[in-house]
């Protein structure tokens, strides 16, 4: 009997593919070496569906040199379990796929249709399935709904999307060459001089991204505010006080602003001119990943990588389409009516969905396109499990945005009255919505403030009821947050939709930035300065963008992977060799900052409340548990201590607790929102709860990694 092996990217996807393609009964869950796969009867034979676990193969150095050795130019693709620690599960997975592959005579890559998915499927088929990549076929789909999966199987591509897979390989190889050599150069330089090991990393995209944050920090640090004055004016119109704007938004000279107040206070003005304007506000464009991440941050405060993680779970649950897309298009082939009918089964979406179904259904699309996927859209299916609150929020946002895409253009009306008071001019402004259109469909995510003006006529006299001066100062530029930094990367065209969020997360992990409003640390400054000084091109956005373009050309089959990799080696070789000769010099520049960083990362800003000595984060040598202890233990016998969460990356924030004034701490755990808490208040609450005999849970639940 012919046997087909289908490789998916994740286990959930494997089940959906098996369910969709099986023609006789439910998929049979089988296992090999603890690795699950599904078997169904279909297409006149047996279909086995097995998932990868993300990337099972990775780039690594060819030789068995030490991990500290550099430069390294020769590499190959090897199983990830041989390259990284803690990947034992991957070893089982590869062995099992190899065994299952022996049963098959036909192979299909059904991983996500993008660079990473194509590469995951390609490497598994090539290395684990004995070179099956040469004869394998490719399924292309954007949702995991049964209908789309069956369609994708019926219209299967005769061979793998090699150009996409090779573009992915090239990206991994080039990034590896940059990352391994530059990061080792920094780490070894620091180690050589300071004798303290500290992982310092940089990369092709990470370097320029960090530079954005550092440059912003530099602008803020060297910012000199200048004074200006604004006039807050209230006009009496038929007994009602309405705020008016002065003709100049800000006045830069104090005496001039005081003169305006003197000229206008208590005076009567005349309405010289009335202007009104009606304008149309088109619906928002469909969600590409970046816009989805930006909206998720704006409305819910979700960091980009969190929003992406949630969106991917919703995709695997067949609730939304593939989220890693750059497209702002919704082609008719997705079946607008079917989706709207599905959404109308949910009571809260019934009125808008039903209203849309009764008219012409045409989406308002944006300009951006993605050859692989449409924009993010809901499938219209109801959740099969109870969704977490955060999942509900993202799903609701995607649904509302989809509904809004099909809405009518909204109409707004604005009024402006010009009031002359002597030689000065003031404006009254009002705005209101005439036709809600899509605004109704977008629900809570469309916010417009309406200001209604009373009836006014030209020549009408109005009194200046109140006028006062407000002294202000110019503001430094705002710090980046994860969402605005992601937008900056996108505008600068560096990184990809799949990698940007992770790169931002790495900046936190390496101690280059802290806090949600990203503050660049001294280490970030020093690393950026060193790289800018010794290898400026590595930090140059233009150069990184050029490389991105070359990789896009590989996707289009216009450039060869080998050539781009060779050019990268040729370019990097002299830079890295030069860095190697300057290890001592670079190490000296890094060493003080690393020691300072280490000290400040464990020393609290607030002193011990009992003896006034410094408080530090320490570990119990026996239990390895971390806590806040007093450094005066050996001098004053002070035993003051406070408990700390045991899991997650701990950061001492500069902010103080509003209740008790103690220094706040932050714990970041993978896949969770950063948790900010006050150790003193936590203890107080615990004591109060004990008094009431109530159990209080520790502030952070168990997570994967443990770091001080």
């Amino acid at each position: 009997m012919p046997t087909t092996l289908i490789i998916t990217e994740k286990p959930d996807a494997a089940l959906h593919v098996a369910e969709a393609l099986g023609t006789k009964g439910e998929p049979k869950k089988r296992g090999h070496g603890g690795v699950p796969f599904f078997e169904v009867q279909g297409d006149g034979g047996r279909i086995l569906v097995c998932s990868a676990l993300g990337h099972l193969y990775a780039v690594t150095a060819d030789s068995d040199e030490k991990r500290s050795q550099y430069p390294v130019w020769n590499f190959s693709w090897k199983p990830k379990y041989l390259v990284e620690r803690g990947q034992a599960r991957q070893e089982r997975w590869i062995r099992s796929i190899s065994e299952i592959a022996k049963e098959a005579d036909r192979f299909i890559n059904a991983c996500d249709f993008d660079i990473e998915g194509s590469l995951i499927g390609y490497t598994v088929l090539k290395y684990a399935c004995n070179g099956a990549d040469r004869k394998a076929q490719r399924m292309k789909f954007s949702t995991l709904t049964a209908k789309e999966l069956r369609d994708a199987y019926a219209r299967i591509l005769p061979e793998l999307d090699f150009s996409l897979a090779f573009a992915g390989m090239c990206r991994h190889e080039v990034d590896w060459l940059y990352g391994i050599n530059l990061s080792r150069a920094l780490t070894q330089s620091a180690l050589k001089v300071s004798k303290r090991y500290s992982t310092l990393s940089t990369g092709r995209v990470q370097g320029p991204t960090l530079r954005f944050v550092v440059e912003r920090e530099r602008e803020i640090g060297t910012f000199v505010p200048t004074p200006y004055w604004v006039l807050r004016t209230f006009v009496d119109v038929n007994g009602k006080l309405i705020e008016a704007d002065y003709e100049k938004e800000r006045v830069g000279v104090k005496s001039e602003s005081e003169q305006i107040v003197e000229d206008c206070a208590g005076k009567t003005g005349v309405i010289e001119e009335l202007e009104s304007r009606t304008y149309r506000v088109p619906p928002p464009t469909p969600f590409d990943l970046s816009t989805l991440q930006a909206e998720a941050y704006r409305h819910f405060g979700f960091a980009p990588h969190v929003a992406l993680g949630i969106a991917e779970r919703l995709y695997l649950d067949q609730l939304i389409s593939y989220p890693r897309t750059s497209s702002q298009k919704l082609p008719p082939s997705i079946g607008y009516q079917g989706i709207l009918r599905g959404l109308s089964q949910t009571p809260s979406y019934r009125p808008p969905a039903t209203a849309l179904l009764s008219g012409a259904i045409v989406p308002h699309e944006g300009d951006k396109e993605d050859p692989a996927h449409p924009a993010v859209y809901p499938t219209g299916a109801a959740p099969r499990r109870a969704l977490e609150t955060r999942e509900q929020k993202i799903l609701d946002l995607v649904v509302r945005r989809f509904l809004a895409n099909f809405g009518q253009t909204a109409t707004k009306h604005s009024d402006k009255a010009s009031i002359k008071v002597g030689k000065h001019l003031f404006y009254l402004r009002g705005s209101r919505i005439l036709a809600k259109g899509w605004i109704w469909l977008y629900g809570p995510y469309a916010k417009f403030e309406e200001v209604m003006l009373p009836p006014l006529k030209e020549g009408q006299q109005v009194a200046i009821a109140k006028i006062k001066l407000q002294g202000k100062h110019t503001q430094p530029p705002p710090r980046y947050n994860p969402s605005s930094l992601l937008k900056k990367m996108e505008d600068a065209e560096i990184g990809t939709k799949a990698t940007r969020a992770d790169i931002i997360e790495t900046l936190y992990k390496r101690g280059y930035v802290k806090e949600q409003r990203m503050i660049a640390t001294q280490l970030a400054f020093r690393v950026t300065e060193i790289l800018t000084k010794y290898c400026p091109k590595v930090m140059d956005v233009t150069f990184t963008r050029e490389l991105e373009t070359k990789m896009e050309q590989i996707e289009l089959g216009k450039q060869s992977r080998e050539r781009v990799v060779l050019e990268t080696v040729d370019y990097l070789k002299p830079i890295i060799e030069d860095l190697k000769t300057k290890e001592g010099e670079i190490g000296k520049e890094l060493t003080t900052i690393i020691s300072d960083m280490f000290r400040t990362s464990i020393t609290l800003l607030v002193p011990c409340p009992k003896c006034g000595q410094a408080l530090r984060v320490v570990r119990n040598p026996r239990t390895k548990k971390r806590f806040i202890g007093c450094s005066g233990k050996w001098k004053t016998n002070c035993v003051f201590s406070l408990p700390l969460p045991q899991f997650g990356t701990l950061t001492l924030l500069e902010r103080r607790c509003a209740e008790c004034g103690f220094q706040l701490i932050q714990v970041r755990s993978k896949g969770r929102r950063p948790l900010i808490s006050c150790p003193v208040c936590y203890v107080n609450k615990q004591r109060a709860a004990k008094a009431e005999d109530v159990v209080v849970r520790p502030p952070v639940t168990k997570s994967a990694h443990l770091q001080t």
Binding site: V224, T226, V253
Partner: protein, 77 residues
């Protein structure tokens, strides 16, 4: 170290007593004085200017360090 910025660990910039970072803060400090003088009138003093900047949260940390440095240098003279 002779070539070290007196305000941080960085090296002095060329033809400056300060590093590039603090030199930039100094340049901004000197450049903005004209705006402040224009805002408050010709008799507005540098001392008032420095005092005001030190109290403002908008003033960059490096600028505050430079003001402190200039004051100390003045005392030494």
């Amino acid at each position: 170290m002779v070539d070290q910025c007196p305000l941080c660990e960085r090296r002095k910039a060329e033809s400056s007593d300060l590093c590039e970072f603090h030199s930039e803060a100094l340049a901004n400090l000197e450049g903005a004085f004209a705006s402040w003088r224009n805002a408050y009138g010709g008799d507005y003093s540098k001392e008032l200017y420095f005092n005001e900047l030190e109290t403002l949260v908008e003033t960059g940390q490096a600028v505050k360090e430079v003001i402190n440095h200039l004051r100390k240098r003045e005392v030494h003279r």
